[in-house]
Protein backbone atom coordinates (compact mmCIF):
# COMPACT_ATOMS: atom_id res chain seq x y z
CA UNK A 1 0.00 0.00 0.00
CA UNK A 2 1.53 3.25 -1.13
CA UNK A 3 1.47 6.24 1.17
CA UNK A 4 -1.50 8.52 0.80
CA UNK A 5 -0.93 10.97 -2.00
CA UNK A 6 -0.76 14.72 -1.48
CA UNK A 7 -3.80 15.27 -3.69
CA UNK A 8 -5.83 12.86 -1.57
CA UNK A 9 -4.90 14.83 1.55
CA UNK A 10 -6.26 17.99 -0.09
CA UNK A 11 -9.51 16.23 -0.93
CA UNK A 12 -9.83 14.93 2.64
CA UNK A 13 -9.16 18.45 3.92
CA UNK A 14 -11.84 19.82 1.58
CA UNK A 15 -14.36 17.26 2.85
CA UNK A 16 -13.46 17.87 6.51
CA UNK A 17 -13.72 21.65 6.19
CA UNK A 18 -17.05 21.29 4.39
CA UNK A 19 -18.47 18.99 7.08
CA UNK A 20 -17.01 21.10 9.89
CA UNK A 21 -18.59 24.24 8.41
CA UNK A 22 -21.93 22.98 9.70
CA UNK A 23 -20.77 23.45 13.29
CA UNK A 24 -18.17 26.21 13.01
CA UNK A 25 -19.31 29.61 14.29
CA UNK A 26 -19.05 31.31 10.91
CA UNK A 27 -19.80 35.01 10.47
CA UNK A 28 -20.45 34.86 6.75
CA UNK A 29 -23.04 37.60 6.80
CA UNK A 30 -21.81 39.85 9.55
CA UNK A 31 -20.84 43.22 8.14
CA UNK A 32 -17.82 45.03 9.57
CA UNK A 33 -18.09 48.52 8.13
CA UNK A 34 -14.62 49.50 9.33
CA UNK A 35 -12.99 46.55 7.54
CA UNK A 36 -14.41 46.94 4.03
CA UNK A 37 -11.99 45.58 1.38
CA UNK A 38 -9.28 45.15 4.03
CA UNK A 39 -6.41 43.07 2.70
CA UNK A 40 -5.17 40.08 4.71
CA UNK A 41 -3.13 40.70 7.84
CA UNK A 42 -2.01 38.73 10.87
CA UNK A 43 -5.28 38.89 12.77
CA UNK A 44 -7.45 38.20 9.71
CA UNK A 45 -5.66 35.80 7.44
CA UNK A 46 -7.77 36.29 4.38
CA UNK A 47 -9.01 39.85 4.81
CA UNK A 48 -12.50 41.24 4.27
CA UNK A 49 -14.74 41.64 1.21
CA UNK A 50 -16.56 44.62 -0.28
CA UNK A 51 -19.23 44.54 2.44
CA UNK A 52 -16.73 44.01 5.21
CA UNK A 53 -17.48 40.31 5.62
CA UNK A 54 -14.59 38.03 6.60
CA UNK A 55 -13.31 36.20 3.50
CA UNK A 56 -12.12 33.21 5.55
CA UNK A 57 -15.63 32.45 6.83
CA UNK A 58 -17.13 32.87 3.38
CA UNK A 59 -14.44 30.64 1.90
CA UNK A 60 -15.40 27.86 4.31
CA UNK A 61 -19.09 28.32 3.59
CA UNK A 62 -18.28 28.23 -0.13
CA UNK A 63 -16.38 24.99 0.40
CA UNK A 64 -19.55 23.45 1.81
CA UNK A 65 -21.57 24.68 -1.18
CA UNK A 66 -19.22 23.18 -3.75
CA UNK A 67 -18.87 19.95 -1.79
CA UNK A 68 -22.58 19.33 -1.25
CA UNK A 69 -23.42 20.18 -4.88
CA UNK A 70 -20.63 17.95 -6.21
CA UNK A 71 -21.59 14.96 -4.07
CA UNK A 72 -25.34 15.23 -4.76
CA UNK A 73 -24.93 15.76 -8.49
CA UNK A 74 -22.45 12.91 -8.88
CA UNK A 75 -24.56 10.50 -6.82
CA UNK A 76 -27.67 11.36 -8.85
CA UNK A 77 -25.88 11.26 -12.20
CA UNK A 78 -24.03 8.00 -11.51
CA UNK A 79 -27.16 6.25 -10.27
CA UNK A 80 -29.44 7.40 -13.06
CA UNK A 81 -26.79 7.10 -15.77
CA UNK A 82 -25.62 3.64 -14.74
CA UNK A 83 -29.13 2.21 -14.58
CA UNK A 84 -30.21 3.72 -17.90
CA UNK A 85 -26.96 2.77 -19.63
CA UNK A 86 -26.88 -0.80 -18.32
CA UNK A 87 -30.54 -1.45 -19.08
CA UNK A 88 -30.09 -0.01 -22.56
CA UNK A 89 -26.99 -2.04 -23.30
CA UNK A 90 -28.36 -5.25 -21.85
CA UNK A 91 -31.85 -5.19 -23.35
CA UNK A 92 -30.76 -3.95 -26.77
CA UNK A 93 -33.34 -3.63 -29.54
CA UNK A 94 -35.80 -0.74 -29.65
CA UNK A 95 -35.18 0.36 -26.05
CA UNK A 96 -31.49 0.66 -26.79
CA UNK A 97 -32.10 2.51 -30.07
CA UNK A 98 -34.30 5.09 -28.36
CA UNK A 99 -31.95 5.59 -25.41
CA UNK A 100 -28.92 5.97 -27.68
CA UNK A 101 -30.78 8.67 -29.63
CA UNK A 102 -31.70 10.48 -26.41
CA UNK A 103 -28.06 10.32 -25.27
CA UNK A 104 -26.98 11.72 -28.65
CA UNK A 105 -29.42 14.60 -28.31
CA UNK A 106 -28.15 15.51 -24.84
CA UNK A 107 -24.55 15.28 -26.02
CA UNK A 108 -25.38 17.72 -28.81
CA UNK A 109 -25.47 20.56 -26.30
CA UNK A 110 -21.88 21.70 -25.95
CA UNK A 111 -20.38 21.65 -22.46
CA UNK A 112 -22.13 23.59 -19.79
CA UNK A 113 -24.59 25.30 -22.17
CA UNK A 114 -27.63 23.15 -21.37
CA UNK A 115 -27.00 23.53 -17.64
CA UNK A 116 -26.75 27.31 -18.08
CA UNK A 117 -30.01 27.39 -20.04
CA UNK A 118 -31.82 25.14 -17.54
CA UNK A 119 -30.52 26.98 -14.47
CA UNK A 120 -31.35 30.26 -16.18
CA UNK A 121 -34.92 29.30 -16.96
CA UNK A 122 -35.62 27.55 -13.65
CA UNK A 123 -34.28 30.57 -11.83
CA UNK A 124 -31.32 30.82 -9.50
CA UNK A 125 -30.86 28.70 -6.39
CA UNK A 126 -28.75 25.81 -5.21
CA UNK A 127 -31.45 23.16 -5.76
CA UNK A 128 -31.89 24.26 -9.36
CA UNK A 129 -28.14 24.08 -9.87
CA UNK A 130 -28.20 20.48 -8.65
CA UNK A 131 -31.10 19.65 -10.99
CA UNK A 132 -29.53 21.37 -14.00
CA UNK A 133 -26.14 19.71 -13.51
CA UNK A 134 -27.69 16.27 -12.95
CA UNK A 135 -29.83 16.59 -16.09
CA UNK A 136 -26.60 17.18 -17.99
CA UNK A 137 -24.43 14.83 -15.93
CA UNK A 138 -26.19 11.46 -16.27
CA UNK A 139 -25.50 11.28 -20.00
CA UNK A 140 -21.77 10.62 -19.74
CA UNK A 141 -22.30 7.83 -17.21
CA UNK A 142 -25.09 6.30 -19.27
CA UNK A 143 -22.89 6.19 -22.36
CA UNK A 144 -19.99 4.65 -20.46
CA UNK A 145 -22.20 2.12 -18.64
CA UNK A 146 -23.83 1.11 -21.92
CA UNK A 147 -20.50 0.60 -23.68
CA UNK A 148 -19.17 -1.40 -20.75
CA UNK A 149 -22.33 -3.52 -20.57
CA UNK A 150 -22.07 -4.34 -24.26
CA UNK A 151 -18.57 -5.67 -23.68
CA UNK A 152 -19.46 -7.88 -20.68
CA UNK A 153 -23.00 -9.02 -21.43
CA UNK A 154 -21.87 -12.07 -23.38
CA UNK A 155 -19.66 -13.41 -20.61
CA UNK A 156 -20.29 -16.94 -19.43
CA UNK A 157 -21.67 -16.08 -16.02
CA UNK A 158 -24.30 -13.82 -17.55
CA UNK A 159 -25.30 -16.49 -20.05
CA UNK A 160 -25.38 -19.04 -17.23
CA UNK A 161 -27.67 -16.79 -15.22
CA UNK A 162 -29.92 -16.35 -18.25
CA UNK A 163 -30.09 -20.08 -18.81
CA UNK A 164 -31.08 -20.60 -15.19
CA UNK A 165 -33.95 -18.19 -15.72
CA UNK A 166 -32.68 -15.40 -13.50
CA UNK A 167 -34.83 -12.30 -13.72
CA UNK A 168 -33.44 -9.57 -16.01
CA UNK A 169 -33.45 -7.11 -13.15
CA UNK A 170 -31.34 -9.40 -11.02
CA UNK A 171 -28.90 -10.00 -13.87
CA UNK A 172 -28.47 -6.27 -14.32
CA UNK A 173 -27.96 -5.47 -10.66
CA UNK A 174 -26.11 -8.61 -9.53
CA UNK A 175 -24.14 -9.70 -12.57
CA UNK A 176 -23.58 -6.68 -14.78
CA UNK A 177 -23.30 -3.52 -12.67
CA UNK A 178 -20.69 -4.98 -10.25
CA UNK A 179 -18.48 -5.79 -13.24
CA UNK A 180 -18.51 -2.29 -14.67
CA UNK A 181 -18.03 -0.24 -11.49
CA UNK A 182 -14.31 0.39 -11.94
CA UNK A 183 -14.45 2.61 -15.04
CA UNK A 184 -17.55 4.31 -13.65
CA UNK A 185 -15.67 5.07 -10.43
CA UNK A 186 -12.83 6.69 -12.36
CA UNK A 187 -15.31 8.65 -14.48
CA UNK A 188 -17.12 9.75 -11.31
CA UNK A 189 -13.88 11.08 -9.82
CA UNK A 190 -13.26 13.27 -12.86
CA UNK A 191 -16.96 14.13 -12.73
CA UNK A 192 -16.52 15.67 -9.27
CA UNK A 193 -13.89 18.04 -10.67
CA UNK A 194 -16.13 19.17 -13.49
CA UNK A 195 -19.16 19.59 -11.22
CA UNK A 196 -17.11 21.75 -8.83
CA UNK A 197 -16.09 23.93 -11.80
CA UNK A 198 -19.64 23.95 -13.19
CA UNK A 199 -21.23 24.96 -9.88
CA UNK A 200 -18.71 27.76 -9.47
CA UNK A 201 -19.29 28.73 -13.12
CA UNK A 202 -23.06 28.93 -12.69
CA UNK A 203 -22.64 30.91 -9.47
CA UNK A 204 -20.15 33.16 -11.28
CA UNK A 205 -22.83 33.86 -13.89
CA UNK A 206 -25.28 34.65 -11.10
CA UNK A 207 -27.33 31.50 -11.77
CA UNK A 208 -26.21 29.54 -8.74
CA UNK A 209 -26.17 30.26 -5.05
CA UNK A 210 -27.90 33.52 -4.23
CA UNK A 211 -26.60 36.27 -1.99
CA UNK A 212 -26.00 36.34 0.89
CA UNK A 213 -25.02 32.66 0.72
CA UNK A 214 -21.46 32.01 -0.35
CA UNK A 215 -20.05 30.06 -3.28
CA UNK A 216 -16.50 30.25 -4.61
CA UNK A 217 -17.92 31.21 -8.00
CA UNK A 218 -20.00 34.10 -6.70
CA UNK A 219 -17.08 35.25 -4.53
CA UNK A 220 -14.91 35.43 -7.66
CA UNK A 221 -17.62 37.36 -9.50
CA UNK A 222 -18.08 39.87 -6.68
CA UNK A 223 -14.31 40.16 -6.36
CA UNK A 224 -13.68 41.04 -10.01
CA UNK A 225 -15.25 44.46 -9.39
CA UNK A 226 -12.60 45.36 -6.82
CA UNK A 227 -9.60 43.73 -8.43
CA UNK A 228 -7.53 46.90 -8.44
CA UNK A 229 -7.85 47.61 -4.72
CA UNK A 230 -8.48 44.13 -3.29
CA UNK A 231 -7.12 41.38 -5.54
CA UNK A 232 -7.39 38.90 -2.65
CA UNK A 233 -11.16 38.76 -3.23
CA UNK A 234 -10.52 36.95 -6.52
CA UNK A 235 -7.28 35.21 -5.63
CA UNK A 236 -8.44 33.49 -2.42
CA UNK A 237 -11.56 31.70 -3.71
CA UNK A 238 -9.82 31.21 -7.09
CA UNK A 239 -6.85 29.41 -5.53
CA UNK A 240 -9.14 27.31 -3.34
CA UNK A 241 -11.21 26.28 -6.35
CA UNK A 242 -8.15 25.53 -8.45
CA UNK A 243 -6.48 23.51 -5.70
CA UNK A 244 -9.54 21.33 -5.15
CA UNK A 245 -10.11 20.76 -8.87
CA UNK A 246 -6.43 20.01 -9.46
CA UNK A 247 -6.35 17.59 -6.51
CA UNK A 248 -9.46 15.74 -7.71
CA UNK A 249 -8.10 15.53 -11.27
CA UNK A 250 -4.74 14.23 -10.06
CA UNK A 251 -6.45 11.70 -7.80
CA UNK A 252 -8.56 10.60 -10.77
CA UNK A 253 -5.44 10.14 -12.88
CA UNK A 254 -3.81 8.02 -10.19
CA UNK A 255 -6.95 6.01 -9.65
CA UNK A 256 -7.16 5.32 -13.37
CA UNK A 257 -3.53 4.22 -13.51
CA UNK A 258 -3.83 2.08 -10.41
CA UNK A 259 -7.04 0.38 -11.45
CA UNK A 260 -5.66 0.10 -14.94
CA UNK A 261 -8.98 1.03 -16.45
CA UNK A 262 -7.86 1.68 -19.98
CA UNK A 263 -6.20 -1.72 -20.30
CA UNK A 264 -9.24 -3.39 -18.88
CA UNK A 265 -11.53 -1.66 -21.33
CA UNK A 266 -9.37 -2.50 -24.33
CA UNK A 267 -9.04 -6.20 -23.42
CA UNK A 268 -12.76 -6.46 -22.80
CA UNK A 269 -13.72 -4.94 -26.10
CA UNK A 270 -11.35 -7.09 -28.13
Amino acid sequence: MAKINFSVWIIILWLLISIASLWLPLNTQQVHLDSILKTPDMSNWLGYDDLGRPVMDRLIAGSFTSCIVAITVILLSVTIGTIIGTVSGYLGGMVDQVIVRIIDIFLAFPGILLAIALAGIMGPGIDNVVIALSVVGWVGFARLARAQTLSVKHREHVIAAEVMGTAKRKIIFRHLIPLITTPLLVEATFGIASVVIAEAGLSFLGLGVQAPDASWGSMIRDGTRYMLVAPHLVLVPGLALMTVVLAVNLAGDRLRDRLDVRNQISTRVV
Binding site: P110, I112, L113, G123, A200, F204, T224, V245
Partner: protein, 308 residues
Protein backbone atom coordinates in the same frame (compact mmCIF):
# COMPACT_ATOMS: atom_id res chain seq x y z
CA UNK B 1 -18.96 6.68 -49.29
CA UNK B 2 -22.36 7.88 -50.54
CA UNK B 3 -24.11 5.40 -48.30
CA UNK B 4 -22.07 6.70 -45.39
CA UNK B 5 -22.91 10.33 -46.19
CA UNK B 6 -26.63 9.56 -46.42
CA UNK B 7 -26.73 7.63 -43.15
CA UNK B 8 -24.71 10.34 -41.43
CA UNK B 9 -27.09 13.02 -42.75
CA UNK B 10 -30.12 11.07 -41.56
CA UNK B 11 -28.81 10.50 -38.05
CA UNK B 12 -27.74 14.14 -37.81
CA UNK B 13 -31.21 15.25 -38.91
CA UNK B 14 -32.69 13.12 -36.13
CA UNK B 15 -30.40 14.67 -33.52
CA UNK B 16 -31.14 18.17 -34.86
CA UNK B 17 -34.86 17.48 -34.54
CA UNK B 18 -34.37 16.18 -31.00
CA UNK B 19 -32.33 19.21 -30.01
CA UNK B 20 -34.99 21.54 -31.41
CA UNK B 21 -37.67 19.63 -29.44
CA UNK B 22 -35.68 19.91 -26.23
CA UNK B 23 -35.11 23.62 -26.77
CA UNK B 24 -38.83 24.05 -27.47
CA UNK B 25 -39.70 22.14 -24.30
CA UNK B 26 -37.18 24.10 -22.24
CA UNK B 27 -39.78 26.52 -20.90
CA UNK B 28 -42.34 23.75 -20.44
CA UNK B 29 -40.02 21.37 -18.60
CA UNK B 30 -39.78 23.77 -15.73
CA UNK B 31 -42.23 22.98 -12.96
CA UNK B 32 -44.85 25.67 -12.41
CA UNK B 33 -46.14 28.37 -14.69
CA UNK B 34 -43.42 29.91 -16.88
CA UNK B 35 -45.34 33.19 -16.73
CA UNK B 36 -44.94 33.26 -12.94
CA UNK B 37 -41.23 32.65 -13.44
CA UNK B 38 -40.95 35.58 -15.78
CA UNK B 39 -43.15 38.17 -14.15
CA UNK B 40 -43.19 37.05 -10.54
CA UNK B 41 -46.36 36.00 -8.77
CA UNK B 42 -47.56 39.51 -8.01
CA UNK B 43 -47.93 40.63 -11.62
CA UNK B 44 -51.16 42.13 -12.92
CA UNK B 45 -53.62 39.76 -14.56
CA UNK B 46 -53.61 41.77 -17.80
CA UNK B 47 -49.81 41.69 -18.04
CA UNK B 48 -49.77 37.97 -17.49
CA UNK B 49 -52.35 37.44 -20.22
CA UNK B 50 -50.46 39.69 -22.63
CA UNK B 51 -47.21 37.80 -22.08
CA UNK B 52 -48.99 34.47 -22.33
CA UNK B 53 -50.34 35.47 -25.74
CA UNK B 54 -47.02 36.96 -26.87
CA UNK B 55 -45.32 33.64 -26.14
CA UNK B 56 -48.21 31.63 -27.55
CA UNK B 57 -48.58 29.86 -24.22
CA UNK B 58 -52.37 30.24 -24.35
CA UNK B 59 -52.51 27.63 -27.11
CA UNK B 60 -52.37 23.89 -26.61
CA UNK B 61 -48.91 22.31 -26.42
CA UNK B 62 -49.45 20.55 -29.75
CA UNK B 63 -50.47 23.79 -31.43
CA UNK B 64 -47.45 25.58 -29.98
CA UNK B 65 -45.21 22.79 -31.19
CA UNK B 66 -46.53 23.07 -34.76
CA UNK B 67 -46.22 26.87 -34.74
CA UNK B 68 -42.69 26.66 -33.35
CA UNK B 69 -41.49 24.22 -35.98
CA UNK B 70 -43.16 25.87 -38.94
CA UNK B 71 -41.59 29.17 -37.87
CA UNK B 72 -38.26 27.46 -37.33
CA UNK B 73 -38.28 25.97 -40.82
CA UNK B 74 -38.83 29.47 -42.20
CA UNK B 75 -35.86 30.74 -40.21
CA UNK B 76 -38.05 32.54 -37.69
CA UNK B 77 -36.84 32.15 -34.10
CA UNK B 78 -39.45 34.47 -32.63
CA UNK B 79 -39.20 38.00 -31.31
CA UNK B 80 -37.32 39.31 -28.32
CA UNK B 81 -39.67 40.12 -25.43
CA UNK B 82 -37.39 42.92 -24.37
CA UNK B 83 -36.36 44.82 -27.48
CA UNK B 84 -39.14 43.58 -29.83
CA UNK B 85 -36.47 42.79 -32.43
CA UNK B 86 -36.57 39.43 -34.26
CA UNK B 87 -34.25 36.96 -32.51
CA UNK B 88 -32.58 36.14 -35.84
CA UNK B 89 -31.49 39.76 -36.22
CA UNK B 90 -30.12 39.91 -32.68
CA UNK B 91 -28.14 36.73 -33.27
CA UNK B 92 -26.88 37.82 -36.70
CA UNK B 93 -25.59 41.00 -35.13
CA UNK B 94 -23.61 39.08 -32.48
CA UNK B 95 -22.47 36.16 -34.60
CA UNK B 96 -19.29 37.69 -36.15
CA UNK B 97 -17.82 38.41 -32.71
CA UNK B 98 -18.26 34.82 -31.55
CA UNK B 99 -16.95 33.32 -34.80
CA UNK B 100 -13.92 35.58 -34.59
CA UNK B 101 -13.26 34.60 -30.97
CA UNK B 102 -13.72 30.89 -31.72
CA UNK B 103 -11.31 30.91 -34.66
CA UNK B 104 -8.57 32.87 -32.88
CA UNK B 105 -8.96 30.69 -29.76
CA UNK B 106 -8.70 27.53 -31.83
CA UNK B 107 -5.55 28.97 -33.40
CA UNK B 108 -4.09 29.84 -29.99
CA UNK B 109 -4.87 26.41 -28.61
CA UNK B 110 -3.38 24.61 -31.63
CA UNK B 111 -0.21 26.68 -31.34
CA UNK B 112 0.13 25.59 -27.71
CA UNK B 113 -1.23 22.05 -27.89
CA UNK B 114 0.61 20.61 -30.89
CA UNK B 115 4.18 21.45 -29.79
CA UNK B 116 3.34 20.49 -26.20
CA UNK B 117 1.68 17.19 -27.11
CA UNK B 118 4.31 16.17 -29.67
CA UNK B 119 7.14 17.04 -27.34
CA UNK B 120 5.58 15.07 -24.53
CA UNK B 121 4.98 12.00 -26.71
CA UNK B 122 8.54 12.01 -28.08
CA UNK B 123 10.02 12.22 -24.60
CA UNK B 124 7.63 9.89 -22.86
CA UNK B 125 8.36 9.48 -19.17
CA UNK B 126 11.11 12.09 -19.18
CA UNK B 127 11.23 15.55 -17.66
CA UNK B 128 9.82 17.22 -20.81
CA UNK B 129 6.84 14.91 -20.82
CA UNK B 130 6.19 15.32 -17.13
CA UNK B 131 6.39 19.12 -17.18
CA UNK B 132 4.26 19.35 -20.34
CA UNK B 133 1.59 17.19 -18.74
CA UNK B 134 1.80 19.13 -15.48
CA UNK B 135 1.22 22.35 -17.42
CA UNK B 136 -1.76 20.80 -19.18
CA UNK B 137 -3.20 19.47 -15.91
CA UNK B 138 -2.92 22.97 -14.49
CA UNK B 139 -4.68 24.31 -17.57
CA UNK B 140 -7.54 21.81 -17.18
CA UNK B 141 -7.99 22.85 -13.57
CA UNK B 142 -8.17 26.62 -14.09
CA UNK B 143 -11.71 27.55 -15.09
CA UNK B 144 -12.23 30.34 -17.64
CA UNK B 145 -13.90 32.58 -15.11
CA UNK B 146 -10.76 32.50 -12.95
CA UNK B 147 -8.09 32.65 -15.68
CA UNK B 148 -9.90 35.57 -17.35
CA UNK B 149 -9.87 37.87 -14.29
CA UNK B 150 -6.29 36.80 -13.48
CA UNK B 151 -5.14 37.77 -16.99
CA UNK B 152 -7.02 41.06 -16.70
CA UNK B 153 -5.36 41.68 -13.34
CA UNK B 154 -1.90 41.06 -14.77
CA UNK B 155 -2.00 42.44 -18.32
CA UNK B 156 -4.70 45.11 -18.17
CA UNK B 157 -4.48 46.47 -14.66
CA UNK B 158 -0.90 45.81 -13.53
CA UNK B 159 0.97 46.27 -16.82
CA UNK B 160 -1.76 48.23 -18.59
CA UNK B 161 -0.90 46.67 -21.95
CA UNK B 162 -4.29 45.37 -23.03
CA UNK B 163 -7.90 46.54 -22.74
CA UNK B 164 -9.94 45.13 -19.85
CA UNK B 165 -13.03 44.29 -21.86
CA UNK B 166 -15.10 45.00 -24.93
CA UNK B 167 -14.41 44.45 -28.61
CA UNK B 168 -12.37 47.27 -30.02
CA UNK B 169 -9.48 46.43 -32.29
CA UNK B 170 -7.11 43.49 -32.31
CA UNK B 171 -5.69 44.10 -28.83
CA UNK B 172 -9.07 43.44 -27.25
CA UNK B 173 -9.30 39.86 -28.56
CA UNK B 174 -5.92 38.75 -27.16
CA UNK B 175 -6.98 38.08 -23.57
CA UNK B 176 -10.35 36.40 -24.36
CA UNK B 177 -8.66 34.21 -26.97
CA UNK B 178 -5.88 33.19 -24.57
CA UNK B 179 -8.43 32.45 -21.83
CA UNK B 180 -10.54 30.28 -24.08
CA UNK B 181 -7.56 28.85 -25.96
CA UNK B 182 -5.58 27.61 -22.96
CA UNK B 183 -8.38 25.54 -21.50
CA UNK B 184 -8.78 23.93 -24.90
CA UNK B 185 -5.03 23.50 -25.35
CA UNK B 186 -4.76 21.69 -22.03
CA UNK B 187 -7.16 18.95 -23.12
CA UNK B 188 -5.92 18.88 -26.70
CA UNK B 189 -2.25 18.42 -25.81
CA UNK B 190 -3.13 15.35 -23.69
CA UNK B 191 -5.10 13.87 -26.54
CA UNK B 192 -2.38 14.60 -29.09
CA UNK B 193 0.18 12.98 -26.79
CA UNK B 194 -1.79 9.78 -26.27
CA UNK B 195 -2.77 9.48 -29.94
CA UNK B 196 0.81 9.97 -31.05
CA UNK B 197 2.04 7.44 -28.49
CA UNK B 198 -0.37 4.88 -29.88
CA UNK B 199 0.71 5.52 -33.47
CA UNK B 200 4.39 5.33 -32.52
CA UNK B 201 3.87 1.73 -31.44
CA UNK B 202 2.59 0.68 -34.86
CA UNK B 203 4.49 -1.71 -37.08
CA UNK B 204 4.92 0.81 -39.90
CA UNK B 205 6.86 3.10 -37.57
CA UNK B 206 9.23 0.25 -36.75
CA UNK B 207 9.55 -0.54 -40.44
CA UNK B 208 10.30 3.08 -41.27
CA UNK B 209 12.95 3.15 -38.58
CA UNK B 210 14.38 -0.17 -39.78
CA UNK B 211 14.81 1.03 -43.33
CA UNK B 212 16.83 3.92 -41.99
CA UNK B 213 14.46 6.91 -41.95
CA UNK B 214 15.69 9.71 -39.75
CA UNK B 215 13.93 10.47 -36.49
CA UNK B 216 12.40 13.65 -37.94
CA UNK B 217 11.22 11.83 -41.06
CA UNK B 218 9.50 9.14 -38.99
CA UNK B 219 7.63 11.77 -37.04
CA UNK B 220 6.70 14.11 -39.87
CA UNK B 221 6.07 11.58 -42.67
CA UNK B 222 4.70 8.59 -40.82
CA UNK B 223 3.55 9.32 -37.28
CA UNK B 224 1.85 12.70 -37.59
CA UNK B 225 -0.27 12.00 -40.71
CA UNK B 226 -1.62 8.85 -39.07
CA UNK B 227 -2.21 10.59 -35.77
CA UNK B 228 -4.09 13.38 -37.55
CA UNK B 229 -7.16 11.22 -38.15
CA UNK B 230 -8.26 10.81 -34.54
CA UNK B 231 -7.08 14.34 -33.80
CA UNK B 232 -9.51 15.77 -36.38
CA UNK B 233 -12.40 14.05 -34.62
CA UNK B 234 -11.15 15.28 -31.27
CA UNK B 235 -10.94 18.82 -32.64
CA UNK B 236 -14.59 18.58 -33.67
CA UNK B 237 -15.58 17.40 -30.20
CA UNK B 238 -13.45 20.09 -28.59
CA UNK B 239 -15.51 22.70 -30.41
CA UNK B 240 -18.14 21.90 -27.78
CA UNK B 241 -15.75 22.94 -25.02
CA UNK B 242 -14.98 26.03 -27.05
CA UNK B 243 -18.62 27.02 -27.60
CA UNK B 244 -19.65 26.22 -24.01
CA UNK B 245 -16.61 28.05 -22.68
CA UNK B 246 -17.33 31.02 -24.93
CA UNK B 247 -20.49 31.74 -22.94
CA UNK B 248 -18.49 32.30 -19.76
CA UNK B 249 -15.45 33.88 -21.42
CA UNK B 250 -17.59 36.38 -23.33
CA UNK B 251 -19.29 37.32 -20.08
CA UNK B 252 -15.96 37.83 -18.30
CA UNK B 253 -14.62 40.13 -21.03
CA UNK B 254 -17.95 41.71 -22.08
CA UNK B 255 -17.24 40.33 -25.54
CA UNK B 256 -20.39 41.12 -27.57
CA UNK B 257 -20.99 37.61 -28.93
CA UNK B 258 -23.71 34.97 -28.79
CA UNK B 259 -22.56 33.75 -25.38
CA UNK B 260 -22.95 37.15 -23.76
CA UNK B 261 -26.29 37.56 -25.53
CA UNK B 262 -27.41 34.26 -23.96
CA UNK B 263 -26.45 35.32 -20.43
CA UNK B 264 -27.86 38.84 -20.85
CA UNK B 265 -31.13 37.38 -22.11
CA UNK B 266 -31.31 34.95 -19.18
CA UNK B 267 -30.88 37.89 -16.82
CA UNK B 268 -33.65 39.82 -18.62
CA UNK B 269 -35.80 36.65 -18.73
CA UNK B 270 -36.01 37.11 -22.49
CA UNK B 271 -36.70 33.44 -23.21
CA UNK B 272 -37.17 33.49 -27.00
CA UNK B 273 -33.64 34.90 -27.32
CA UNK B 274 -32.26 32.29 -24.87
CA UNK B 275 -33.91 29.52 -26.87
CA UNK B 276 -32.61 30.93 -30.15
CA UNK B 277 -29.03 31.19 -28.89
CA UNK B 278 -28.99 27.72 -27.32
CA UNK B 279 -30.46 26.23 -30.49
CA UNK B 280 -27.94 27.97 -32.73
CA UNK B 281 -24.90 27.04 -30.61
CA UNK B 282 -25.97 23.39 -30.36
CA UNK B 283 -26.79 23.08 -34.04
CA UNK B 284 -23.41 24.53 -34.95
CA UNK B 285 -21.78 21.91 -32.75
CA UNK B 286 -23.82 19.05 -34.25
CA UNK B 287 -23.19 20.12 -37.83
CA UNK B 288 -19.45 20.66 -37.30
CA UNK B 289 -19.18 17.20 -35.76
CA UNK B 290 -21.01 15.67 -38.69
CA UNK B 291 -18.61 17.44 -41.05
CA UNK B 292 -15.54 16.23 -39.11
CA UNK B 293 -16.89 12.67 -39.21
CA UNK B 294 -17.33 12.93 -42.96
CA UNK B 295 -13.92 14.54 -43.36
CA UNK B 296 -12.45 11.68 -41.35
CA UNK B 297 -14.11 9.15 -43.63
CA UNK B 298 -12.96 11.03 -46.71
CA UNK B 299 -9.35 11.26 -45.56
CA UNK B 300 -9.13 7.65 -44.39
CA UNK B 301 -8.89 5.44 -47.49
CA UNK B 302 -9.97 2.40 -45.44
CA UNK B 303 -13.38 3.97 -44.82
CA UNK B 304 -13.61 5.86 -48.11
CA UNK B 305 -13.11 2.78 -50.25
CA UNK B 306 -14.47 0.18 -47.90
CA UNK B 307 -18.02 1.40 -48.42
CA UNK B 308 -17.96 1.54 -52.21
Amino acid sequence: MIKLVVSKLLSTALVVFGVACLVFLLIHLVPGDPIDMMLGENAQMADRQALREALGLDQSLGQQFITYFSNLLQGDLGTSLHSRVPVVELIAERLPATVELAIISLLVSSLIAFPLGIMAALNKGQAWDKSAMAVSMLGVSIPNFLLGPLLILLFSIYFGWLPVSGRDGFASIILPAITLGTSLAAVMSRMIRSTLLEVLQEDFIRTARAKGSSHLQVIVRHALPNAMLPIITLLGLQLGVLLGGAVITETVFSWPGIGKLTIDSIMKRDYPVVQGCVLLISLTYVVVNMLTDLLYAWIDPRIRQGNN
